[in-house]
Symmetry: C2
Subunit: 700 residues, 2 copies
Amino acid sequence: MLDELLYPDSVAIVGASNTPGKVGYAVLKNLMDGGYQGKIFPVNPGSPVILGVPAFKDLKSLPQKIALSVIAVPTAAVKGAVFDSVSAGAKAIIVITAGFKETGHEGAELETLIANHCKASGVRLLGPNCLGAINTHHKLNVSFARQTPIEGSISVISQSGALCTAILDWAESRKLGIGKMLSIGNKADLNEIDLLKTLQKDEKTKVIVCYLESIDSGKDFIRAAEEASAVKPVVVLKAGTSAAGVKAASSHTGSLAGADTAYGAAFKRSGVVRAKTFEALFDCAIALDMQPLPNGRRIAVITNAGGPGIMAADALENSGMLVAKLTDKTAEELKSKLPPAASVGNPIDVLGDADPDRYVLALKTAEADEAVDGILVILTPQAMTRPAETAQAVAKCVKEGITKPVLVSFMGGTEVMPGRNELTIARIPDYTAPERAVSALKAMCEYSEWRRRPPRMVTRFPVNSTRVQRVLARHLKTGRMQVGEVQAKEMLRAYGFNVPDGRLAVTLNDALEIAERVGYPVALKISSPDIIHKSDIGGVKLNLTTADMVRDAFELMMMRIPQKAPEARIEGVYVEKMAKKGLEVILGMNRDPQFGPMLMFGLGGIFVEVMKDVAFHLAPITADEAMQMLTATRSYQLLKGARGQSGVNLSAIADGLQRISQLATEFPQVAELDINPFMVGEAGQDAVVADTRITLREVK
Amino acid sequence: MLDELLYPDSVAIVGASNTPGKVGYAVLKNLMDGGYQGKIFPVNPGSPVILGVPAFKDLKSLPQKIALSVIAVPTAAVKGAVFDSVSAGAKAIIVITAGFKETGHEGAELETLIANHCKASGVRLLGPNCLGAINTHHKLNVSFARQTPIEGSISVISQSGALCTAILDWAESRKLGIGKMLSIGNKADLNEIDLLKTLQKDEKTKVIVCYLESIDSGKDFIRAAEEASAVKPVVVLKAGTSAAGVKAASSHTGSLAGADTAYGAAFKRSGVVRAKTFEALFDCAIALDMQPLPNGRRIAVITNAGGPGIMAADALENSGMLVAKLTDKTAEELKSKLPPAASVGNPIDVLGDADPDRYVLALKTAEADEAVDGILVILTPQAMTRPAETAQAVAKCVKEGITKPVLVSFMGGTEVMPGRNELTIARIPDYTAPERAVSALKAMCEYSEWRRRPPRMVTRFPVNSTRVQRVLARHLKTGRMQVGEVQAKEMLRAYGFNVPDGRLAVTLNDALEIAERVGYPVALKISSPDIIHKSDIGGVKLNLTTADMVRDAFELMMMRIPQKAPEARIEGVYVEKMAKKGLEVILGMNRDPQFGPMLMFGLGGIFVEVMKDVAFHLAPITADEAMQMLTATRSYQLLKGARGQSGVNLSAIADGLQRISQLATEFPQVAELDINPFMVGEAGQDAVVADTRITLREVK
């Protein structure tokens, strides 16, 4: 639980200062003003009293051991302060000072030195180059933020200290509480994973909000995020999703961001609620913090204005949510109690002169309707509208008997603000526009669906690992990282893939015999460890239907290729039965440096390269997840059969993805693998590997 | 200019009331409190004095003719009030009262009666069922809104009165001025088109904001919007973009919304800035109101915090804007003047302790850099940050010498609010998050590009109209709305399309002769006015390469089809040279009830039906616009040549779209037209109509 950091009984502020504007002044003042109950030890060689508190000239002079040391001295003095803090008994240290890894090589070395000393001493380190930490549950504010938030249950992990200041300022203006706020800075020791684990166990934290620019260890992050998400929502804004953003991020923190698709796959796997914008981060967080999760996507909209009701309906439908179809009972109930001009469909229009009672009536009716999973309440400040009273009435009604999530959009500014604040205090999330409430509802639904997902069971297929091992060993021993088609197909056959029948022919007679045995039509492909792009030099002949054609093709290859590639060692010609025609799909795997093996699926050719219609998933993958990869593509319409055509063998594709997943998991030496095309026939028919490309890597 | 409505010298408030909460009270109070300089005549049979002003028992008792009459009496009394207002000399009438078209048939009749009387008397009518009107330029507030806005240059046309109240409340909280605000209600007379025209001419309106649920006349709207957009930006939120939204809209105002794709095409044509959400509406409007238009998409970001800078870079790149590549001169200039830790790339990081001077320095440097088209300034409230002073310094700097658009995001709440208000007053648009500023910048760029577009020149091709006329006449006379393939191809040939050579054969000998003449391979297609889906009953045979095959196909058709479709009149068999293979694309046209002929383009088959990769444009279309339709699809990558394959004849497709555009424009009887597939070869080669379908309609 990192109690030494978050619940210390004594704090030293090294570099505490009497001068407003100095960081050491701000930190001490925040700690004192926040009502911290433990002991405070300002440390500064020049001032015997700071902000009215007796100060100490150095850490050695402290009268007792300290729990937490917060360091805000110039960069050059940080090392000494860290070592002294350790000696003074600190179990946790926060280095606020900047000037380390982010400035270059020298700074990075200094940072490592400090971190290593802490590690060797069993001391946890937050920072350097951070805003500090806040824990309202312990009245602890050891940051140089301008504000101390009120107590709340949303906790924040941020790789940008400045963003914390914006969050605190916004939270203050919206009367919103914060639990813990941890600025992780350069992450010399404590990083997002440590803090995720801590906040997962923290009973006072209901939602974890993260702003991240980089993730230190992808696999650990996934495990930590998945475990945390199983208990409480984790909402993440990952900055650096574009090339320009990645560039800006690496110049900012000196850390390299991974590929955005891999982050997307990692977040999806681990149940992380992904926010795409700064506003979405807290739009989602407050909804998840304040309201129960919906059991489905059907939303009832209650509004005193037609226009915003339409906007809400548009936003629901356009984002894949549902405008609930209210039951007849609901419509009758509303009809009997609302004025005749009211609309009793959905949106439920309680009319411009709606008083708080009408809102309450509509709320209760929507609660009772089993076709409704969540409720969106919209208010515009019309002449007769009483925003504050309506807010109170809605809050009371929700508190007393609404079990479904209720989100609110009080649209406007000055007039609705008192109502908005009432709602926040009553833990009903409020949004300036209906579209934002809908986005939050969608995030709630997706998280709820993740929580209700079936247990993950990865199928383990019986395979012939020894054969794969043999191929790999042969290649790696000689440093050949590109596996030839013949061997690559052998590997896939060992993992249960259908591979066209074929064999290597050294002589023409071999070739003719093999062709006869596997059956026409056949393909001939030159086999050489030195030739990668076989077709570029005439090394591939397809659809040979007769022995004569095989003869011509074989002899042409044997004559021409040694001329075109005189250096190449020719092993012979691979004679293979032509794969049956089918729909061409691509199955792929490559390894993300952060998150490990990532599977790819797409409809062949143009769909992948031009339409970018592909789906990704991290390995290992379950049968369900493999099927989800198919349905996630737009081309799924085609796979399952469109325009009156019958669909293809979907389970053969899902099966193939799972087998690649297993191969990638069991053989880390396989760096990249593509099956392109994978020929898929109609349901019930086999799918065949028509061509494949496997690249290896050294694994220590 | 609708001066009678917006600049009246006298106003009667019919239904004025002393009772707070009554609409007639609110309207009179708004008018009086707003500082209106003209004469005010409250009318109410029961009260001789209202709000301290002498009142009149009816309109007949007024001492003088009035200019504007505002009616807020019960529905049943509205008709009398309107007639009396006309008699009292009113040149404009606002009916605030509801209970008309939106309630059903009876209400609609009453509304028509009132509107007709106004029209016959030369009186303009706003409403009924509206909030009223505000014109801050005349200190006129004849609405029952709770607030009177300060004077500004953004004017609003809204089909939702409630939304006006939310806008006013928001504008008040952000110190934002409004020019005119017109709630159009049921649009019995004055509609969005009239008001667009009025606001276009209004010199005090710099930006027109519209909230619309329906548009009355598509073509008039396009013309009015295009003319207005040529002078000032028109920002539109069109609600009812989804099926659910359309349903909600029609139950709200009783008006039917058109297809969203048609609205999209109409807005694009007419330069309308389309806002997709309520917040985007004013995000765009304030940027366009306050700042000059950018000349390009290259944006410099200035920030005191790395994280938000990355968010801005992500948002720019992900939305198709550009993170400006600053010149070396700029980098050197910044390097020499900013602290060493500052990042002098883009985003320009002026660091967490940045004072106002650093912001000004960075602003001036970005202004001087010719590689920058617009500037985004970000501030987070860190310990040393002075938001208000920074806002002032930025405002002063912008006023004194920045010619490029400057948008600002002061992130936070309480602490940054004074700065945000300074910025609004200085006419520098400010956003709560960088992503929203980027969306506004994008809207500015797109509008700027529209303003700088080349003049529209629609090519008029020489065509054989007489032939088309003949085909149409023949069909319409007999009520056959489906044009058979043979005649449809004749129409297209008359409009300059390449159609495969072919003729109708009545006997087998005819068929063999024609096949011989046009050359093998040929296709045979049954010709009957009664058979639409020819291939379903074996009426199509393709790729016949020999006389024997033609004989077999002909005789089979003649035997089988009369069995399968005994009622069908068989005219013969169409014998046609097979179209050369090529890339299959679809060219289409249908008529939107609102906006008229709309052209469609997409890559054939699956790309249109599964991937929905299509582009629309309203006819008539220019060569430029036709080419834009191609580039707007994702499949354009394929058309222009991908994966080392050469591209296709793009101009043949653009040409085809223009010819369909001309046909649709010249022959309103053509309801729908599809060329599917249109076979396109490589650049320089002809494109051919392989199949087509034309549907006609009666035109009065």
